[in-house]
Symmetry: C2
Subunit: 267 residues, 2 copies
Amino acid sequence: MLSIGEFSKICQVSVKTLHYYDRIGLLRPVRVDAFTGYRYYSQEQMEQMLYIQRLKRYGFLLEEIRELLACTDAHMLASRLLQQKERLKQKKMETEGILSELTAHLQDFERTGNIMGYQKGYEIRLTETPARNVLACRQKMGVNDFGRYYSTLYERVPKEKVTPNGATGAIYHDEEFDPTCSDVELIVGIREREKADKVMESQLCAMTIHKGPYSSLSDAYGALVSWIKENGYTADGAPYDLYVKTQFDSLAPEDWETEVYFPVKEK
Amino acid sequence: MLSIGEFSKICQVSVKTLHYYDRIGLLRPVRVDAFTGYRYYSQEQMEQMLYIQRLKRYGFLLEEIRELLACTDAHMLASRLLQQKERLKQKKMETEGILSELTAHLQDFERTGNIMGYQKGYEIRLTETPARNVLACRQKMGVNDFGRYYSTLYERVPKEKVTPNGATGAIYHDEEFDPTCSDVELIVGIREREKADKVMESQLCAMTIHKGPYSSLSDAYGALVSWIKENGYTADGAPYDLYVKTQFDSLAPEDWETEVYFPVKEK
DNA sequence: CTTGACTCTCCCCTTAGGACAGGGCTTATA
DNA sequence: TATAAGCCCTGTCCTAAGGGGAGAGTCAAG
């Protein structure tokens, strides 16, 4: 039987944390003195504490940890762990993307001496886009789901005997853009007009090329909006982008290239 | 001049966020109607918003971003960015460590079918340690500073003409262990007794071998404390660990090995 | 003039505890 | 014996970066 102070030292956890865990029912002391309210912990609770700490490192919320502790089905536990592993991988990739963005930013500073306006100089062109025949898949989704939905699109290629022309991209139908869930239409360009889900007719567009990871795509988007307002045009449809150079060309994120198109008309 | 709603859509930021940024003085609207309190933003503020978003991605606090925006010295800015880059790298490595821990955990589950008790079975031995002659460096530091202080220790090796014997480790002098800052003594074992900073005399220790990344070292520590209590011993000095197999053997974190020693005496 | 969309301020809520404040219990010391 | 020093308790407020909603005022179109 250990006092809360002893237990806290052994487990390397603050007394406050133990109070908190008691309060939220995550780890209750084995005995509480009815008169003084003093908490007493047992030797075995140390193991549980270590397990809690481990799950916390894995990135679970305390709420989730409580559920995991209550769960007796080892296979369900394992699947939760696997799921968390995927999340950690995701997080790692995110960090890598941002790192490469930051690296590019610093390189840009070395070259130009300009630190704030990194890639402010988007070169914007007004262009009449060609008509595009595309397989399409419109869905409410987050950026993380793109891969999954692209797979389903590409699975249709052999089945429907269509010929991809190399264009891959996404149309953003929402006006306000929420990266966790928005109304996106993924597109894969194909040759056969008659087999296309959708034909994007030729249209006047403001466009620019974004270089670097997708996390900073909003800069290109912003530059386009600015340009459109300043040059007396007005938006005329949903913007879209085409992924020109990507990880599938085995390039690092800072070398990716994306074309961003914004349909416009004269005001 | 844009209303808050228009500005929020263009910048892909919620109105709530704009309110908040106004309140904390991070991004003030260019005009506020004195009667209605309505906020109006300008075209140029969009760029600033994009810059803020970028810095936020880099992991700066809003407080820090405000300082960065006010800072006119480009070189200072660049150094802050560099520093942040190091932090991101650190974070990435941390995530990688935890990932490998989780991977080992799942592998262990596959083998044993036991999910909670991952590496609960530390094999603990009572052993009389040999006397060790060491170069030492005692300091209040966090785990992230280990590398730096080890460098200074190893720089002394050629200068003082000592011969490392391969043992590298750390003694933990604090009773309560705070990973961000604790009283740690880094040690490097050498042959020459007369040139040693410190001689660790032969001593009775409970010891075990921890396999895996350092993030779960506390498990080994916990197992030792448990064993000591249960077997009628009591702690007798500061525990220490020796890094036996590490990244310098070009191994993945799940294959690292660390010996953990806890000096004890019979109660 | 009304309706619906937009905006304002104010208040409470989130995670995982940290920092006191004020008080109770036991033990060591002068 | 008085007091000081450790522990321990509960309770309240605080964090970062906003989200959600209430209740009320404002704007533009029909």
